[in-house]
């Protein structure tokens, strides 16, 4: 069993919605959107994880955001998963304490329209300046 995951359960266990062990190297931890910064801070500051990337997926219920935290010493990845509701998805930004999240949060805003509250430099990253507001290329096409 993965030691860090056990400590995560002990420290923030009451805030975990579910844990999935996909394989001995891959874990998915589901949390509420408002608890994400606390989990990432714990994993990054205290446990020495590296933020590999954040990915957003448009699912029927909302926008799923996955924070892939890589543990290089242990050779494992914990993915913190959260669901932000549509039509105006919003979540706290991590870029203030984790510069590595700066670009990807801007990218997710561009492509999926998730607003990151408190981002220090919330501008477009990928789409061109004349791209229309409110059109998000990676959103599902509603029938």
């Amino acid at each position: 069993m993965f030691q860090t995951l056990e400590e995560l359960k002990k420290e923030l266990g009451n805030k975990i919605l579910s844990i999935k062990e996909h394989s001995p190297k891959r874990f998915y931890v589901e949390v509420k959107p408002e608890d994400v910064p606390e989990f990432i801070r714990f994993l990054f500051d205290k446990k020495g994880a590296r933020l590999s990337i954040v990915s957003g997926v448009d699912v029927r219920e909302g926008i799923e955001i996955l924070y892939h935290m890589t543990f290089d010493r242990e050779g494992k990845i914990i993915t913190v998963r959260t669901l932000v509701p549509k039509p105006f998805p919003e979540i706290e930004s991590l870029a203030n304490f984790l510069p590595a999240a700066n670009w990807i949060e801007r990218e997710i805003y561009d492509l999926l329209g998730v607003k990151f509250r408190g981002h220090p430099d919330f501008r477009r990253l990928l789409l061109s300046d004349d791209w229309p507001e409110g059109v998000y290329p990676l959103r599902r096409k509603e029938p």
């Binding site: 990337i53 494992k76 990807i104």
Partner: protein, 400 residues
């Protein structure tokens, strides 16, 4: 007085367009801003309308230089999703192609880095020795670039038994050359004077920006996906992770140079100890679920996240190239340096050097260009020339 230097966004020589804005006071850089995605091709979106087999070819087109790293990461993500085992021979062949790619990519970087500091001897020799590596690629995969070697479950082609001797001979010829070349660059006092202490990325910054690959390893962070999250055959081969504590441009060059020698040894070990058997597992269908695959590209960790709904097409593919994490470290390295060092500091991460071709210094008030790309390149080269007059260059002796 503050001036803004726009670099980019278009340049004819490189595969990608980026737009940097350097804010300078006199010679000193005080701020930097980056805009990118002039070449955004919507590959993540496109991948949703391709079958899994087609996506392998699609992600191969993300980059012409590390065109093996993206397929390997994608295939591993799907293999993680569907719990597919790759046969040992396939794993060894994956390692061979991945290391050849590192070899040619590092040689390419070294040549361009030399070019930008006005050391065209380094440029010419590095690219000359890159050719036999590309020939090896042609022998093994049939292509000099875009090898089309990876498939979900293994690799597409096998190495012919009669080719093995020739590959080993080519590696034997390459070893002393790379070794000598490495020593020549490492011992050269001009290169040391030009690159040491320039564009330093401190270890704590490297960690905050989550830098990966040689950029992180040159700042003393001992991370390497090949060792930390073993894939392909890296856990069955003796090799070591190269790190340097200094974090400057010279350290990044050292890491890449020494990694080349490791790469040659890894390839030789793989070709000599190639296990028998199949090179791939047949895949019938991909179940619903999600998977993560990552691999160590020449520039650092490539990361792929794949989600499946059980159909032939992936529901979502998230791709993260290493430069995505390494480019933002410019904020920590370029600021505080001089303009003549900015070119090589930007190039040290190995993103796209030819941005510098398009560099231009503008007076903020008048908007009139006062320094162009050629001038910046000239500044960088003049600094090297000044140093060359001070120190006797061992490199010139070596190549004369």
């Amino acid at each position: 007085m503050r001036t803004v230097i726009p670099i980019g966004p278009y340049h004819p020589l490189q595969e990608e367009a980026e737009f940097f804005q350097l804010v300078v006071e006199g010679e000193k850089v005080v701020d930097i801003d980056v805009r990118l995605s002039y070449m955004h091709r919507g590959i993540e979106y496109l991948a949703q309308s391709k079958t899994y087999d087609q996506v392998v070819f699609l992600v191969e087109r993300i980059c012409g230089i590390c065109s093996n790293s993206h397929p390997i990461a994608f295939c591993q993500a799907v293999e993680d999703l569907a719990a597919i085992e790759v046969p040992p021979r396939g794993l060894y062949l994956r390692t061979v192609v991945a290391e050849l790619e590192r070899l040619h990519s590092h040689l390419l970087w070294l040549g361009l880095a030399g070019h930008f500091i006005g050391y065209d001897t380094v440029f010419r020799w590095a690219w000359r020795y890159r050719e036999p590596v590309l020939d090896l690629f042609e022998k093994i995969t049939g292509n000099r670039n875009h090898y089309a070697m990876m498939r979900i479950g293994g690799v597409r082609r096998d190495i012919r038994e009669e080719d093995r001797g020739e590959i080993l001979r080519a590696l034997d010829q390459l070893t002393p050359i790379v070794q000598m070349f490495t020593n020549a660059v490492l011992d050269d006092p001009v290169i040391a004077a030009r690159l040491k202490g320039v564009g330093v990325l401190k270890p704590e910054d490297a960690r905050l920006y989550c830098a990966v690959g040689p950029t992180a390893r040159a700042s003393g962070l001992e991370i390497d996906v090949r060792r930390d999250h073993p894939y392909a055959a890296y856990d069955k081969i003796p090799w070591k992770v190269i790190t340097q504590p200094e974090g400057d441009v010279f350290a990044k060059a050292v890491v890449r140079l020494l990694e080349m020698i490791e790469s040659i040894n890894i390839i030789r070990h793989c070709v000599e100890n190639l296990p028998a058997g199949d090179v791939y597992t047949e895949i019938r269908e991909i179940p619903p679920g999600e998977g993560i695959g990552h691999a160590e590209a020449p520039r650092g960790e490539v990361f792929h996240y794949v989600r499946s709904d059980g159909s032939n097409f992936p529901q979502r593919v998230k791709i993260r190239a290493p430069s995505y994490m390494n480019v933002p470290t410019f904020k920590a390295t370029v600021i505080g340096g001089t303009i003549s060092d900015a070119t090589i500091t930007l190039a040290a991460v190995d993103p796209c050097y030819c941005c510098t071709e398009r560099m231009m210094v503008k007076e903020v008030k008048t908007g009139k260009p006062c320094l162009r790309g050629e001038d910046l390149l000239r500044l960088s080269r003049e600094k090297t020339a000044r140093l060359r007059a001070l120190y006797p260059s061992t490199l010139d002796k070596f190549f004369s």
